[in-house]
Symmetry: C2
Subunit: 93 residues, 2 copies
């Protein structure tokens, strides 16, 4: 089944930078909101099977391209952090 | 986990129009190639869970939006049909 290589790439980046992003909440719901938000803002890179994700990943070894992704991730993380919608936040925990 | 609602929408469209697209080969590999190709050409619509796919689907009840998707699907189907890469075609079946 066709799969968007950016899902794996952005998910890895999110966990790598989770602390550095300094979000007000890092529950699964909020991380999932960040992922959905950033994946709607980056060009999809669908490949026809998981094995081909590595080829797309290799393209992002280029510093400039990776920086662009990190900036978009940080923007999405800020939006979620500024207005968390997770149940934990609603209960004021 | 975040999911791209367009995967379901395009997959449904592909099976609905499979005959009308008149592809030279409609094996799973070729259909998967069409899906990957068209999903790289339409704006992703990630939602945070499967239950929300229906909301995105509802937006495409609008004729004009749906027509745009079908045109992109037909373009992708033509590209795959003109240059199939599936094993069946390589064996000249």
């Amino acid at each position: 089944m066709a799969v968007n290589a950016m899902e794996q790439i952005m998910s890895d980046l999110l966990f790598e930078y989770k602390q550095a992003l300094q979000m007000s909440c890092t529950c699964d719901e909020c991380l999932n909101d960040v992922l959905a938000l950033v994946l709607n803002r980056v060009q999809p890179r669908y490949v026809t099977d998981d094995g081909k994700i590595a080829y797309v990943k290799a393209e992002f070894i280029d510093k400039q391209q990776m920086t662009t992704l990190i900036v978009k991730l940080a923007e999405s993380a800020k939006m979620v952090s500024d207005m968390p919608r997770c149940r934990r936040f609603e209960r004021g925990e």
